[in-house]
């Protein structure tokens, strides 16, 4: 029993990690309708930036802040220079962001080399909680906490501010929104930068768990895409619930159907889409 509970908790924490990884993409893809294939690379970049600062004896939290800031700035620049030219053109987005991910990933390899690294768990959180006979690392509880915080933040932005509505309207009909007196360009730039910052943030927070290595970007990307799709485009709530579901099912699946573990997430996605072609919480397309 206790081992089952421990695994449930593990799954929950893992799901939250999924949510954190995917949340930036959820916003950019689901809400802004931009396919950002560079998401995984921005994730990776966040981790590497923090790594550099931490190696220079900067405190973990300060490094986190700096990494988030820098990825946000990069997101801002990318949007201003490139992304803004291709709103609404999905295939161009695929090509452009794919190209960007190549460039950024290779730059990372150039700057930081090919060796693998990890980020240290910040001292405060390096202990573990003992639950019955097993131990549960504090840092994972912290990830759960941050995941919830992010969800809360998104909920606030969506319901208590106009930003959510502006973005959705901007995707529907950009020109009309600007004719109503809203600087859509600015909002979109901001949102893209926010999405990039979230990618960077999850990179730093995921660093101690996943590590950093060449080629990780595509794994992160696929994972995030799956989370977004299962949840349903345009619904971060869907991503939240979808991510947790994946985390729990995958964790239990590792124990119950070990031979399927290569496929678990794909199977979950397939089943969800067969039953609900627009994802769990996706809006039906008009």
């Amino acid at each position: 029993m206790s081992i089952f509970l421990a695994q449930l908790l593990t799954g929950l924490a893992y799901g939250m990690l999924y949510f954190m990884i995917a949340v930036g993409l959820t916003i950019i893809l689901g809400v802004m309708n931009v396919v950002n294939l560079a998401h995984g690379t921005l994730f990776m970049l966040g981790a590497y930036i923090a790594f550099t600062f931490i190696n220079d004896e900067v405190n973990f939290w300060a490094a986190l802040l700096l990494a988030v800031l820098l990825t946000a700035v990069l997101g801002l620049v990318l949007e201003k220079l490139l992304i803004k030219r291709i709103y609404g053109k999905e295939l161009e987005q695929v090509l452009l962001t794919f190209g960007l991910s190549f460039i950024i990933a290779d730059a990372i390899e150039w700057i930081w080399g090919t060796e693998m690294h990890t980020l240290p768990v910040p001292g405060l959180l390096s202990g573990s909680l003992s639950i019955g006979s097993t131990a549960f690392p504090l840092y994972r509880l912290f990830v759960v906490f941050i995941g919830c915080l992010l969800a809360l933040l998104l909920w606030y932005l969506e319901t208590k501010t106009r930003v959510g509505a502006i973005i959705r309207a901007g995707v529907d009909d950009r020109a009309m929104v600007s004719a109503l007196g809203i600087n859509v360009g600015l909002v979109f730039t901001g949102v893209f930068a926010f999405g990039a910052a979230l990618a960077g943030l999850s990179g730093v927070l995921g660093g101690p768990l996943i590590g950093m290595y060449t080629g990780m970007d595509s794994e992160i990307l696929v994972t995030s895409l799956i989370v977004v799709v299962i949840g349903g485009l345009g619904s971060w709530k869907g991503s939240f619930i979808g991510a947790i579901a994946i985390g729990v099912i995958e964790t239990l699946g590792k124990v119950w159907f070990p031979s399927l573990s290569m496929l678990t997430v794909f199977l979950i996605m397939m089943i969800v889409l067969i039953i609900r072609p627009q994802g769990l919480f996706g809006r039906e397309v008009a």
């Binding site: 695994q7 690294h117 990890t118 573990s128 131990a135 060449t214």
Partner: protein, 387 residues
């Protein structure tokens, strides 16, 4: 400082005049420079280049020109790159791949084209058994060697009841089957085998499952980022210090112990190389490597270094670049390596080499694999014992 190096000619100018003339040798590398295998490729290239630097950019007295191609760890791409190197660039011989799948794909082609391939990393057992080729010589090690060497020591000194883990792919299965056979032959018992998928982010459920068996030890084979995560999470979930962890040579290698740091302490690994090995050649090698690249060499750097050393000797002895002459010399060739004496076993085309049972200890903040025992001349059986 520790940048990847350029892939162009190794030294000076004028190496391209007189192509195919016997005064120079063109070597094609097929490596995985992008993706998870990138650090391995970098190590191999660095080691090879270092050897060239130390020998005037020559092997067997011939100026060396190297061409490096990225196979993206994909046999299909590798085959295309192979054709390019052999048919368009007309390389004399090949040093290659990281991935065993790529090695198996190349194997038929080199047979057909009669090109010598020095296998600098791919560890698939069958390359020495069922798919052995006269044109493929492994300078690194095989999965069988990696899995079996520490088993006897572990069964006798650590415990009889083991849970074993490895990723669910051919190398993982091959290492564990070798371990299991040797471990049980030495009186141990494997009570559970666990195969997580390759690139598992979260080992927690597996660790919980393994711990539930209450084994005397856990033996694992995880390379790359999987290895780092496994070792870190082993500690995080409170298993470190509770159940002894042992593993294949990866667990004693810089590539993993450096990033994991203290979490890797106490792991017993059967390694074939460490920068701390106490021999003269190694000391020189480590010095030179550090001077050139600003970091410690790892097992892959040595593979590259040895590939060059072996070719140097082979070309000298063969006195020609013709494959027929080279393969005569390569069979049974022996040379000294920073990891100890090496001899290519003519029965398997696989190196006979020493392995070292070592325990990771923390010294001045760095993990050092302290050698406990040397297993001399680990030799692959001539045919597969598993059929």
């Amino acid at each position: 400082a520790g940048c990847a190096q350029s892939s162009s000619t190794s030294s000076g100018s004028g190496s391209d005049k007189g192509e195919g003339s016997s005064s120079s040798v063109k070597i094609g590398f097929i490596l995985s420079q992008t993706g998870t295998f990138a650090p391995l490729s970098e190590g191999i290239l660095n080691g090879f280049q270092l050897y060239l630097d130390q020998h005037n950019g020559t092997l067997g007295g011939k100026k060396v020109e190297i061409k490096v191609e990225d196979d993206e760890a994909n046999p299909q791409v590798a085959l295309r790159k192979y054709r390019q190197l052999v048919h368009a660039q007309k390389v004399d011989l090949l040093v290659g791949p990281i991935s065993s799948a790529v090695a198996y794909a190349l194997r038929d082609e080199v047979e057909k084209d009669k090109k010598v391939l020095i296998d600098a990393n791919a560890a698939g057992d069958d390359l020495s058994w069922g798919k052995k080729s006269d044109y493929v010589y492994r300078v690194s090690f095989s999965n069988w060697q990696n899995g079996s060497n520490a088993a006897k020591y572990l069964a006798e000194q650590v415990g009889k009841k083991a849970v074993i883990l490895a990723p669910d792919y051919p190398a993982g299965k091959e290492v564990l089957r070798a371990f299991k056979a040797a471990f049980e032959a030495a009186g141990g018992k494997v009570v559970k085998e666990i195969y997580p998928k390759l690139n598992t982010n979260d080992f927690a459920p597996y660790l919980q499952e393994a711990a539930a068996e209450k084994p005397d030890l856990i033996y694992a084979f995880f390379a790359g980022s999987d290895g780092i995560r496994f070792v870190t999470q082993y500690k995080e979930f409170g298993l470190k210090g509770k159940i002894p962890l042992a593993g294949s040579l990866e667990f004693g290698d810089e590539l993993i112990t450096q990033p994991t740091g203290e979490a890797a302490e106490g792991i017993i690994a059967g390694i074939n190389y460490s920068p701390y090995l106490d021999n003269e050649l190694n000391k020189q090698f480590v010095e030179a490597y550090k001077a050139k690249y600003g970091k410690l060499p790892n097992v892959f750097s040595v593979e590259g270094y040895d590939a060059a050393a072996m070719l140097d000797k082979a070309i000298t002895e063969a006195g020609s670049l013709r494959s027929e002459n080279l393969i005569k010399v390569l069979k049974g060739i022996s040379f000294d390596s920073p990891r100890g004496p090496i001899m290519i076993d003519p029965a398997t085309n696989n190196p006979i080499q020493n392995f070292y049972i070592s325990k990771n200890t923390l010294k001045d903040g760095a993990i050092v694999p302290e050698v406990i025992e040397t297993v001399e001349k680990v030799t692959m059986p001539e045919t597969s014992p598993f059929e």
